[in-house]
């Protein structure tokens, strides 16, 4: 079988695109030099891809799992309840206000996050339960690991604006944005973020009488 010149050119272009796809390693530190875990690193460029159709935020042992979820705008998120008690998930955030009243098991419908922004989740029964959903305008994102690092892979060549958001970030991610040209290979970017004190409600017994009671 012989390939025509046109077909050969197409195959070369496709493979060349893959070969040129780059990666970005994002290293996040807090302003004291510690690793910035649970931060969302995302790259916004000209290229885009269809959103992943579905994501899951589970509820296990009276905790949201994971603590931070990153999705592309338009993604549907389901909130299964894996505990044998009921939960009541809600959000007041402007990017997505919703409420899943007292339920067990899996809600019938997932929640579609159709607006870019950062959403705080809570449970009306267990005040210490809190989680975040970062709704992003790009398919290129990762949540940083315990060591504060995240790897954004398979970025088509081009120029990107890389931003990092964290639940405790003082200010807006735009203030810390960095621009980068992506070609083949891996580039590294470092972000140092000013973070607020973590004042999540505690599960251990505290002083208040109004929380769990």
């Amino acid at each position: 079988m012989r390939l025509s010149r046109g077909s050969l050119l197409l195959v070369i272009l496709v493979f060349a695109g893959d070969l040129l796809a780059g990666s970005l390693e994002v290293i996040v530190k807090d302003d004291k030099g510690g690793p910035g875990s649970d931060a969302v690193a995302y790259a916004v460029g000209a290229a885009s891809a269809a959103p992943k159709k579905h994501a899951v935020v589970d509820q296990r042992d009276k905790q949201f799992v994971p603590y931070v979820t990153a999705i592309q705008v338009g993604t549907a998120v389901s909130f299964p309840n894996s505990d044998n008690i009921r939960h009541h998930v809600y959000s007041f955030s402007p990017a997505k206000k919703f409420e899943l009243p007292l339920y067990s098991g899996v809600p019938a419908q997932p929640v579609v996050f159709d607006k870019v922004g950062f959403v705080t989740l809570g449970c009306n029964i267990h005040d210490w339960m809190i989680a975040y959903v970062a709704v992003l305008p790009t398919p290129y994102f990762q949540v940083t690991r315990q060591d504060g690092r995240a790897l954004l892979k398979d970025l088509p060549p081009g120029q990107y604006t890389v931003q990092v958001w964290h639940p405790g970030l003082k200010g807006q991610p735009e203030a810390f944005a960095q621009r980068v040209d992506v070609g083949g290979g891996t580039k590294s970017l470092q972000f140092t973020l000013p973070l607020k004190h973590d004042v999540r409600a505690k599960r251990a017994p505290g002083l208040t009488t109004g929380g769990y009671r």
Binding site: I85, R86, H88, Y90, F92, G122, N124, A204, L207
Partner: protein, 276 residues
């Protein structure tokens, strides 16, 4: 028919009920266990205090929760064993939250009924506390709480019957995710028992009742029951050790008066608390 539906709803709720187990153990020091006004009569002591409780939370509607449970409390004093006590109790309460989330204002109406058995059995009796509390979060780190409680203690020996009205207010501050502090004020008005070495005609003049007692050894003291007003300031700290446990320290300075009698208590507590 209606009763059947209500029972069915309750059974259904019980099936989804959420159990909670709590325990607390630690030391308490009272600088004036004898509630005496004269320094020569003052007796201080410390005790090992423990509470265990099992409770259930039934979320009846989005905003309304029914809590009920049972508990067992105990105190063992170092020197003055007459005050050693153990007591089972049961409580029930309704909490209503005006909206969703931990920052929504709430009110709580609860009642605890228990029996306190003292080593000095004449002090033993039934204890009932009706408590109304309300709270509001000013921010994600600062909250205000306040309320009113009516405490009633009924003993076979009428001398130990007591009724107390109590009002309280406090501010809570989450310093970090692990550290919480609170500053509070408590006003109590009602029966108190003050011990003094007789003769004390000045106290006898306005006391409701009196009895000669040997709880504090020699010299024998007279216990005076009188109507007192107490102003107390408290400072508490809770530090989360792990997911289910915290250590709690608290200090209370209380001044009780019935003119011309006045006595002070410094009460320090250190506890480890667990909840599951």
């Amino acid at each position: 028919m209606t009763l059947g539906i209500v029972l069915l709803m309750l059974l259904s709720s019980f099936a989804r009920a959420e159990w909670r187990f709590e325990g607390q153990t630690g030391l308490v020091y009272d600088s004036n266990l004898s509630n005496s006004d004269r320094s020569a009569d003052v007796r201080d002591d410390w005790a090992w205090r423990s509470d265990v409780a099992a409770g259930n939370a039934l979320q009846l509607t989005r905003d309304l929760r029914l809590n009920f449970g049972a508990d067992l409390r105990g105190e063992v004093w170092d020197r003055f064993g007459a005050f050693n006590t153990i007591g089972p109790g049961a409580s029930a309460g309704l909490r209503y939250r005006f909206g969703l989330g931990r920052q929504a204002p709430w009110i709580l109406l609860e009642n605890r009924f228990g029996y306190d058995r003292f080593q000095d059995t004449s002090q033993s009796g039934y204890d009932n506390v009706l408590n109304f509390q309300a709270g509001i979060a000013l921010s994600d780190r600062i909250a205000l709480e306040g309320g009113y409680a009516f405490e009633s203690f009924v003993a076979p020996d009428d001398f130990y019957d007591r009724q107390v009205h109590r009002g309280n207010a406090r501010i809570l501050f989450d310093v970090t995710s692990s550290l919480q502090v609170s500053i509070g004020y408590i006003y109590r008005e009602g029966d108190v028992i003050s011990y003094a070495v007789p003769p004390r005609p000045d106290i006898a003049r306005f006391s409701i009742e009196r009895e000669d007692e040997d709880e504090f050894g020699q010299p024998l003291r007279t216990a005076y029951k009188l109507l007192g007003r107490t102003h107390a300031l408290s400072f508490s700290v809770a530090y989360q050790l792990m997911k289910y446990a915290s250590v709690q320290l608290s200090y209370e300075y209380a001044v009780t008066t019935h003119d011309p009698l006045q006595y002070e208590n410094h009460i320090v507590e250190a506890n480890i608390a667990v909840a599951y």
